[in-house]
Amino acid sequence: MDILYLLIPLSIVFVAVIAMGLLWAVKSGQFEDMEGPAHRILMDDDDEPPAKNRD
């Protein structure tokens, strides 16, 4: 049971890290358009891939 003395504080640290990640995601605007990206994957813009990926 002694391992809990390590695991419980560790879980708090993990939650803090996840929370920070979420706050970063909100800040970087990932929640602003919840539908667009889902449609974007269907768009046929394969004609102009980044030049460096082509020979």
Binding site: L4, S11, I12, V15, L23, F31, E32
Partner: protein, 806 residues
Amino acid sequence: MTSPAPSPETPRCFHCGDALPAGADYPITLRGEIKPACCRGCQAVAQVIIDSGNADYYRLRTDFPATAEAALEELKKLELYDLPEVQAGFVKAEGEVREASLILEGIVCAACVWLNERHLRQLPGVISADINFSTRRARVRWDEGRVKLSQILKAVQEIGYLAHPFDTSRQEELYRKERNTAIRRLAIAGLGMMQVMMYAIPVYLAEEGTMTPDILQLMRIAGMVLTTPVVFYSAWPFFQGAARDLAVRRLGMDVPVALGVAVAYAASVWAVLSRSGEVYFDSVTMFVFFLLTGRFLEMSARKRSAEAAESLIKLIPAAAVRLPHYPADRTEETVAAVKLNPGDHILVGPGESFPADGRVVEGASTADESLLTGESTPLAKQQGQAVIGGSLNLDSPLVVQVEKVGADTVLSGIVRLLDRALAEKPRLALAADRVAHWFVLVVLLISAGVAMAWYAIDPSRALWITVSVLVVTCPCALALATPAALTVALGRLTRLGLLSTRGHALETLARATDFVFDKTGTLTTGRFRLLQTETVRGDAASALAIAAALEQGATHPVASAIREAAGAAALQAEELNYLPGQGVQGRVAGRTYRLGAPVYAAPGHELPASLNGSVIALADEAGPLAWFELGDELRPQAPALVAQLKALGLRLRLYSGDRPENVARMGRTLGIEDARGGMLPADKLAAVRELQEQGAIVAMTGDGVNDAPVLAQAQVSIAVDQGAEAAQAAADMVLLSNELARLADGVRLARKTQVIIRQNLLWSVLYNVIAIPAAALGYVSPWLAGIGMSMSSLLVVLNAMRLNRV
């Protein structure tokens, strides 16, 4: 220019707080004292602030503004909004009375709306203040002689909100910010809830003695650590709202929520620190999370309903292409749409929106006015035809001469009417607002009673049962029920092209028993059309062809009706000779014909008895060939509308100033029994009064200025067609599209709205009547109470959203 926190020794600018450069000599005189400034700019700004009577700014400010520009911003907030040049963009003035649209920052619930309205209305000089909960827009009217706009803005700041002049991009930005904040709070609460539950469940499940007191205490401490940010960050809006409510001695729905969270959290923390009693961190976090979820969903729903109104404002493009030297040459220049003046020529490409109301001077295209009028078919636009600002040019470029800009445009008029409708609250909503306040008071009293009772019965349970009672009650349903339904209904109506301009319109339309139509222009298009042809000699088709040939090139309505009926013209007429007001004489295929009034074309011949209305005759030297009866054309949707309204159980009446025979025939065609013609406006008024005396609730449709009195007399009035502005201003609803059947949709929607509002209120009462006693008796744990309350609010909002599908 940021100030790196100057030490007290270094002399610094009195205005912006920057260090004083050596040799700076820009004194500011404040209440007889000389203060130093760092530059001429700061000196000037400070002097303006002091001279304008706002020296208190320096006394009250708690910190230096971040930059000198920010200091200017401060000043802007206070005084710049009073300058006429600044106000020109968003204030409508009628003499001393001014009206402005403001956006309010910080509105989270119906209570905030109530508070702001009341606070503003108390200001001397403020005539009216109405806030639209969905769009956060406030319409304020004030007497410029008694109060300034800056004082109004300041008054809003005093109670903890922020007001800005309305501006779409700002509104968007505000919404984006609010949404992001809401997501952040929700994320923290959600994570906190999940993890706290991880510590709580083992404690619940562990058998007696398997957990050492140390581990137990560790888990309790962990729960406390994770609940703290949830309470102080995620739940912060509830505390803020409660503090605001209490500051103005009013009870909003945040008060019981904040009280519940605070009591539960404080007691649990005390339990951890004293190593005794129970902790309820899981309940606290779950409650906060569910409440925030409810609020977040409600915010999204509200945003969606408000979009109908907002999308109208966004229709006007920001920039326009002006042709300053048209028609001499076509140099183009891009200007801001607000800079356009009447008389300017602009070029509008295909796929672009018209930036102002105007008239086509060159080119032909079609325009999509569906967002403005609900009219789904594109309208052809040729030289000389009017275009509406905000509608979409579809096919090819047009040169348009600007006629109306800014507040005079059709779009602005519509937005103003819509604003008025959204801001004016129906009686039902006003009643709900008042009840919510008393409701919270009663809840607090009940909670206090429950707390005392349980303290006597079982002190260990008293706290949690009290928290449950505080949490489970849902004034939100009560305060949300009506506004949510009304907002959705108004948005839906607007999308249909039926604009409700008064708060009571929907309510009254739902109760209407009689529909009175004015004939011309309402059920008919107001355009001439060939109704009947009676031939004397020869066949109708050739008579029509000859008549069309005689009328070629003529522009009056009769001529176009004849040409339209004849179709493609095959014959040519020569030696045409027009007699104004009489008719036309000419030669077709070698014979001379006359077409026109019977007295001119066929004098001495009797009209056939079957014809009435406007009749014209076609005759050759030997006498009349054919009689044409012309009349107003019935709108294509009129029969459908009549049928639908009848199916809804409404009594229909047709009151017209037209000739009784025509009206009677139209009544027969449509199946309206009470069809009276030859009525003067006064007669119509008397007839409507008589109906009302018999207990009827009259919905009146009309289109002309002459209808204004009778529109005002009817309980609910609907102006059809965009024609007469006087009729629109008097009307409670305006049908923007030509699709008459929308009226029946409107009645259906109005009735459905009443049903939904009643359902919501009923649910709210039912829920509370069941939930409060259950909680008081100890059957509802705090977390269950949290779920119940959030779900109740959500149910009300979702029920209101159903109106979108009527």
